[in-house]
């Protein structure tokens, strides 16, 4: 065992990269859930985004176009969920699970010709001076743009929910959709937009895995990241800041346990592999033991009567 082989600079730098996909997917799901929609299809939307982004990036040679296509792909799939739950008034849990299965199947079909191909590399930030700083340079200033985009998105969602009228209406719809309807707010329209935003974010998160993190295409490559994002939203008590914290914690321990495995620590690999899940959930459960609670209309079907 040689712990000195673990480089803290690289560890922190790869923490941000490992956290980004679940961070972006979770913040999208958080918005959907704050509007009262429980979309369990995050995994399906992520994998769909992963393959959409991969195909477009490979065909056009532009990672940027790839990410845009991923967002559109995820959002399109989420519209299927919206159609089922908002207009056909189907059960949200069942529809979400169906969406995940459907997304896994569709992505496998779409990706048949793309196994074993390398996507065009996503450029990394390279700021003269800042990126050359020892320690801070590699940790903070040398990532690809999506890492910064993810963090900015969390800040934007937090500010939107807390300070804007749009955020207030979103929270009101998620809290009591009947009252919001009685006041004349368009419950279905608000939820439609929230679901679409959640889908686009999940798509982006998925594309980050296939274009940056791995980067290649294999079937089912999101490997449960969507479920982690879902769990993160719940254990973060539907608060944007805690989602960021939880994603970093999860990313950090994932990277750390990989490093520990490489360093040959005398703990069975299985325990190390499960540690990110256990520790993230444990920490967030302890944090969510205050009196914060779920949006009161979460998962309930809205039907305007009278």
């Amino acid at each position: 065992m040689d712990l000195s082989s673990i480089n803290p600079t690289l560890l922190l730098a790869s923490l941000l990269v490992a956290a980004t996909p679940i961070l972006i997917a979770a913040i999208g799901e958080l918005v959907a859930e704050r509007s009262g929609v429980l979309n369990l299809g995050v995994e399906g939307m992520m994998i769909t985004g992963a393959i959409c982004g991969f195909i477009i990036a490979v065909e056009t040679g532009s990672p940027l176009l790839g990410f845009i296509a991923a967002a559109i792909g995820g959002a399109l799939l989420s519209m299927l969920f919206a159609l089922l739950t908002l207009f056909a008034l189907a059960n949200q849990v069942a529809s979400g699970l169906a969406l995940t299965l459907f997304g896994l199947g569709v992505s496998a079909l779409m990706g048949q010709g793309y196994v074993g191909i390398k996507p065009p590399p996503t450029p990394k930030l390279d700021i003269p001076l800042l990126s050359d700083l020892p320690f801070f340079g590699p940790v903070l200033f040398s990532h690809d743009l999506m890492v910064y985009f993810g963090i900015a998105l969390v800040a934007a969602v937090w500010a939107m929910l807390k300070y804007t009228r749009a955020g207030l209406i979103l929270r009101a719809v998620g809290e009591n959709h009947d009252a919001a309807h009685a006041l004349g707010y368009k419950v279905v329209r608000v939820r439609l937009m929230a679901i679409g935003f959640g889908g686009a974010c999940a798509g982006l998160g998925g594309a980050y895995i296939s274009l940056v993190r791995v980067p290649q295409w294999t079937e089912g490559m999101t490997a449960g990241a969507g479920w982690i994002a879902l769990a993160l939203v719940v254990f973060a008590s539907w608060k944007a800041g805690r989602v960021l914290l939880g994603a970093w914690l999860f990313g950090g321990i994932t990277v750390l346990q990989l490093n520990l495995q490489a360093a040959g620590v005398a703990i069975p690999v299985e325990y190390l592999s499960m540690s990110p899940y256990l520790i993230t959930i444990l920490v967030l459960v302890i944090m969510s033991s205050d009196r914060s609670r779920a949006p009161a209309s979460l998962g309930r079907i809205f039907h305007a009567s009278g």
Binding site: R165, L168, I169, R171, A172, E175, N176, D178, A179, A180, A182, L183, G184, Y185, R291, R293, P295, A296, G306
Partner: protein
């Protein structure tokens, strides 16, 4: 101030199978309080929803101050000066007062300015309120103040109030009336919906009475007796509940030192409750909603178990027994919430009858259900309590609130309980049906049953109960004979006006 504010003429709205409003016409003058009366299902809600822009009329017109008024949505109605305080408060528990108010406004000012305007208006009208408290923590009276202030901040010309006093203590009602009178003196018209006829007699200038969707008559409440108004609503005479002399028997239910932790996040724990009820006696328990009524009912029904000796039924401790065992012994309960607690909404009336009556009516045999017997039991309930439904196969959800209430009370009454606990037995039920439900409770007591009636309707409690106590923050007041209690005494037993003693200078 006798100019006409709102004229409604020939308003009609039909839903599949039912005409909710059939050529309704009346006028509201500026600065008057206009009452809208009618039984459950008479079309009052549909009518105010049309005025507020939530529902579009099929035909007919409205004019507001001489101009055509056809709001396509509530926003438009609010913009022209129509505001509404809802029966079931349309508030968001997890948001604070200022946020709730901002949601009801078209162009809310920044939060800081809004908070100071809320303070200003609330002091002007004697409705103290802290803009930054979370609504979920407020009492029912305070929540209503939030709704009223939300309306007042928009300088309304017409304020619609749907059953505003059903959750208030007498003192809070008095404060509300002072606020409303102050508003009318400023020229605001109020459209007031209530089942409480005495309140309408005190407050309202004119009344329009709806029956089966049509406006059948108008009256001046101050000059009409409550009974005449009730008969106008029903369209025929009905009997008031009559008390028979009854002999009190053994102590049927003895509760001593009952304390129960609260179940829900916004619930109230019960603290050291003592009470006894004798056979043939009706004990009325008043109090504003959310002061431990639901918890008391669940502790008595067995949904929540307690110390074994805290609840004694006919001398036997039953505190640790569950609902089924208690039902078998003859301790029956009818909870408040009709859809979801007292009845399973999507199951038929037959199935719902089976759910509580299986033991006492012998509707099961070795685990198999006797559907024929259950059907005839459900039919007996429907007949005896005049439940209006096409048949017992219909889902509980399809019944109107009042009819379902008659069914869930009737289902327990017909099982010949030894002790019956009811919570809000006539909530949302019209005058005639309420009278028949109260009569059935009185008849039950006359037959030797001990009845505990938990209710927020003080008139009801005074009408039927022998002794009266009030719940306040999970504590039960001293229990006193009901006869001779004054409204002020009752109000104090209920905990007064919750710190609302405000100068109405």
């Amino acid at each position: 101030m006798t100019d006409t504010l709102l004229t409604i003429s020939g308003l009609t709205k039909a839903y599949p199978g039912v005409v909710a409003n059939d050529t309704v016409s009346f006028e509201i003058k500026e600065g008057e309080v206009h009452a809208l009366l009618g039984e459950n299902g008479a079309g009052k809600s549909t009518l105010v929803k049309m005025i507020y822009g939530l529902v579009k009329p099929d035909s007919g017109t409205m004019t507001l101050r001489g101009e055509v008024f056809a709001p396509p949505e509530p926003r438009a109605a609010r913009a022209t000066g129509v505001a509404m305080v809802f029966q079931h408060f349309s508030l968001f528990d997890a948001l604070n007062v200022a946020e709730n108010i901002a949601l009801g406004m078209e162009n809310p000012p920044p939060m800081g300015d809004l908070a100071s305007r809320i303070r200003e208006v609330s002091e002007n009208y004697g409705l103290p309120l802290d803009p930054f408290r979370t609504v979920g923590d407020l009492s029912a009276g305070e929540r209503q103040r939030v709704e009223i202030i939300r309306c007042l901040l928009q300088d309304p010309k017409l304020l619609i109030m749907d059953e505003p006093t059903s959750v208030l203590t007498p003192q809070e009602v008095e404060i509300l009336f002072q606020t409303l009178r102050k508003l009318t003196s400023e020229g605001v018209a109020i459209l007031y919906i209530s089942h409480k006829l005495e309140e309408i007699r005190t407050l309202c200038d004119h009344a329009t009475i709806l029956r089966l969707g049509k406006n059948v008559s108008t009256c001046i409440p101050a000059e009409t007796s409550a009974r005449d108004m009730a008969e106008l609503m029903v369209g025929s005479a009905f009997a008031s509940p009559a008390r028979a002399d009854r002999e009190l028997g053994e102590i049927a239910l003895d509760i001593s030192g009952l304390s129960v932790a609260s179940t829900g996040a916004f619930g109230t724990p019960l603290r050291n409750i003592h009470l006894t009820v004798q056979e043939g006696e009706i004990l009325g328990i008043g109090g504003v909603a959310g002061n431990g009524q639901d918890e008391l009912l669940t502790a008595l029904s067995g949904e929540v178990t307690t110390d074994h000796d805290a609840v004694k039924f006919m001398g036997q401790p039953v505190g640790r027994l569950g609902p089924t065992a208690r039902r078998e012994m003859g301790l029956l309960t009818a909870p408040e919430e009709r859809l979801g607690h007292a009845a399973a909404p999507d199951m038929s009336l037959i199935e719902n009858a089976l759910l509580t009556a299986a033991q006492r009516e012998n509707l099961m045999h070795r685990g198999f259900l006797k559907w024929a017997d259950t059907r005839s039991f459900a039919n007996r309930v429907i007949e005896a309590f005049d439940v209006r439904t096409p048949g017992p196969e219909n889902a509980a959800r399809s019944l109107s609130g009042g009819n379902l209430q008659k069914f869930v009370i009737g289902r327990e009454v017909l099982q010949n309980p030894k002790v019956l606990v009811v919570n809000q037995p006539t909530w949302g039920v019209d005058a005639a049906a309420a009278a028949s439900i109260r009569q059935s409770l009185l008849d039950l007591a006359a037959g030797g049953t001990a009845v505990i009636c938990i209710s927020q309707d003080l008139d009801e409690l005074m009408e039927i109960s022998d002794r009266f106590g009030a719940l306040n923050e999970g504590r039960l007041s001293d229990i006193r004979p009901a006869q001779g209690l004054t409204v002020d005494e009752i109000g104090l037993m209920m905990g007064g006006a919750h710190g609302m003693e405000v100068a109405h200078g």
